[in-house]
């Protein structure tokens, strides 16, 4: 009972804080950070979902990009409204993701990671070959209706929360447990009769759908997208959010995204020295906080609970 309560409280605080940030912050610069953190959190959570089954999905970059470009194209070329464009974009991304998974999930570990890497980069180069997508100069004009302008942070935050909840529920469900079992020891999971391959493909379907949503949101909040936005660095940073925040808990990637994205904005002011700060922060976090920030926090909480009577 105590664990469930703690988690529930965590969710309530998270939602309250996020909604508060989205609504109370009026400075457009700070709102843009809130939006970026929200999208980053969704990316980190999507990646972590696949990590449950023991794989690092570097194709995330392609899924986000496909969601973004589809939504953008539907809006600029076909005039589709913003909500529908994002949903269709995410559906396309899900189809691509499921197909990709069905084809590639026989490979495992670093091989799967590298197939994903190759896929993301191939798709990135492919965007630039199509003039209708704006080529390398980028696609412009992806704007939500003017009336919704002030509400965008709230809309983005709420959409992200909805899909975070979806991911959390999926993780808690029987499906999630199967993924966990696969991550622990796939041959054993198979030996008890589970169709591990089908579960893995299903996981990829889920993650590519949420990634597609993130992509669509990115397109409409940045208004301009370019192939360079969706390179292998996207999943690399998502992985950093997960690792720095703490991969052992659902909230880890959310915390990691908040910390690293806020930090990267702070680092911008350093001009050419930006990479030292940002890269250095990642290196230090990984070295000093093996379980991520949440790992550190829960050890601190446990130490406090144990009190001064711990053996030293």
């Amino acid at each position: 009972m105590a664990r469930i309560d703690a988690n529930l409280i965590g969710w309530i605080v998270l939602i309250a804080a996020a909604v508060f940030a989205a609504v109370a912050v009026t400075n457009p610069y700070l709102s843009s950070i809130v939006i970026l953190i929200a999208i980053g959190a969704l990316l980190g959570a999507s990646l972590r979902f696949v990590m449950l089954m023991g794989e690092v999905n570097f194709a995330l970059g392609a899924f986000v990009g496909i969601g973004a470009y589809t939504a953008g194209l539907l809006h600029t070329a076909a005039g589709l409204n913003f909500a529908l464009a994002i949903l269709v974009g995410a559906s396309v991304s899900m189809v691509v993701g499921t197909t990709f998974g069905a084809i590639t999930l026989r490979a495992k570990g670093p091989y799967f990671m590298l197939i994903g890497f190759a896929f993301t980069e191939a798709v990135r180069v492919a965007y630039s070959k199509f003039a209708v997508l704006g080529g390398t100069s980028g696609m412009v004009g992806i704007f939500p209706p003017r009336a919704l302008d002030l509400w965008m942070p709230l809309i983005v935050v709420l959409t992200v929360i909805v899909f975070l909840v979806v991911l959390a529920i999926a993780e808690r469900s029987d499906f999630g447990r199967i993924l966990f079992a696969i991550g622990e020891n796939e041959p054993v999971a198979r030996s008890v009769g589970l169709n591990t391959f089908r579960s893995k493909v299903a996981a990829l379907a889920v993650t590519s759908a949420t990634a597609g949503i993130a992509g669509g949101l990115h397109a409409f909040t940045n208004n301009v997208i370019s192939p360079g936005d969706f390179s292998f660095l996207l999943p690399a940073f998502a992985l950093a959010y997960v690792k720095v925040g703490g991969e052992n808990h659902f909230f880890g990637p959310i915390l990691g995204a908040a910390f690293l994205i806020a930090l990267s904005h702070y680092a911008l002011g350093f001009g050419a020295n930006e990479s030292f700060l940002y890269g250095g922060a990642i290196v230090l976090s990984v070295l000093l906080m093996p379980g991520g920030m949440l790992g550190l926090a829960s050890r601190a909480v446990a130490a406090v609970r144990k009190g001064p009577s711990s053996h030293d």
Partner: protein
Amino acid sequence: MKAPTTLTIGVVAVMSASACAVDPAAAQDVIKLGLSVPLSGSAANWGKGSEFMCQKAAEEINQAGGIKASGKTYNFECITYDNKYNAAEGTKVAQTLINRDAVKFIGGALGTAPTKALQAIAERQDVLLFTVSWGKSLKGPEHPMTFTQQNTPYEILPPLIGYVVKQHSQAKTVAMLNPNDATGQETEPVAKATYEKNGIKVFASDYYERGTTEFQAIAARIASFKPEIIDVGSTPPADAGAIFKALDLMGWKGVKVNETGTGADTLKETGGDAAEGVYMGSGVVFDGDTVSAYQRKLNDEARKLLGEDLNTIQIGFYDAVYALKTAMETANSVEAKKVAETLPDITFPTFYGGKVGFFGKETYGNVQQMRLPILVTQVQKGKLVQVHRIDP
């Protein structure tokens, strides 16, 4: 799990608070010029040089007494952020410059994708934007506050190609190569059309990926068409040198053009002797008698910082500052919209010597292009020599 979530909020709050610690009441009498340029990656030197040139121009103007408008004296300050050459970072930089730093004038934006991202935000907030990017769609009546600070293919190619064709009247065929990036995609159609207008047959027009390290196969392919002219378009000088070297090795001999080649140094570094005879449209010569002592001095300083000569991109950042000064004083206002309305009609002192203004109504529909001289240069005996100059 309450502690960690509160931790999140705390961290974000602290970061946000310090990140938006901005000088309130925009430190009186300072006009901030925002720059969105790459400061890392392969274009880092361009960005660094651009920042240097903006700062130089600002320094000169401030020391000479600043800008006098609407009864006050102002100084310029250049603020530079790294846009990493993509739209997502470009948006971040735009948000920071415009919404956090309250910048009203963008002294220069480098990289078409980040420039487009910047333009989207700038226009909604009536911010004046200078850019070195070539995209035709960046200018026009729908973008009244955007101005270009260097020559684009539309200005360079007709005189350049016309000159080369005249010099080599026996050459009737060309094979083209461009990088698969924004500059290449903008250059290719203009180049193709210009060659065809000059009666030259275009045998092939290829693209290659930036980041390619081995060029033998690419060179082999273009050489296989047996063209008399090989034009590598907007290929950066380093890659261009490697390509010409590979071509030389295969025994191909002909007319070599690097349309927007920006410097002989890098071309020679990688091309060696194969760089001999290459024509360039964006090269700037810093020795010889076409150059003033002042230009040479500035270039020497830049050389120390960057390890190579200045190029037209970076010079554009210098020119924009002077253009803004002149416009502000003419309009007697530092309000972005008024300054934007005044710019098309002024003439200002350019780094290239003399005074220039803006033009471009026929090509773009609006007067938004700096009327800069086009310098046709050629590598002769290992040095870059200016062979032709057109002042439009």
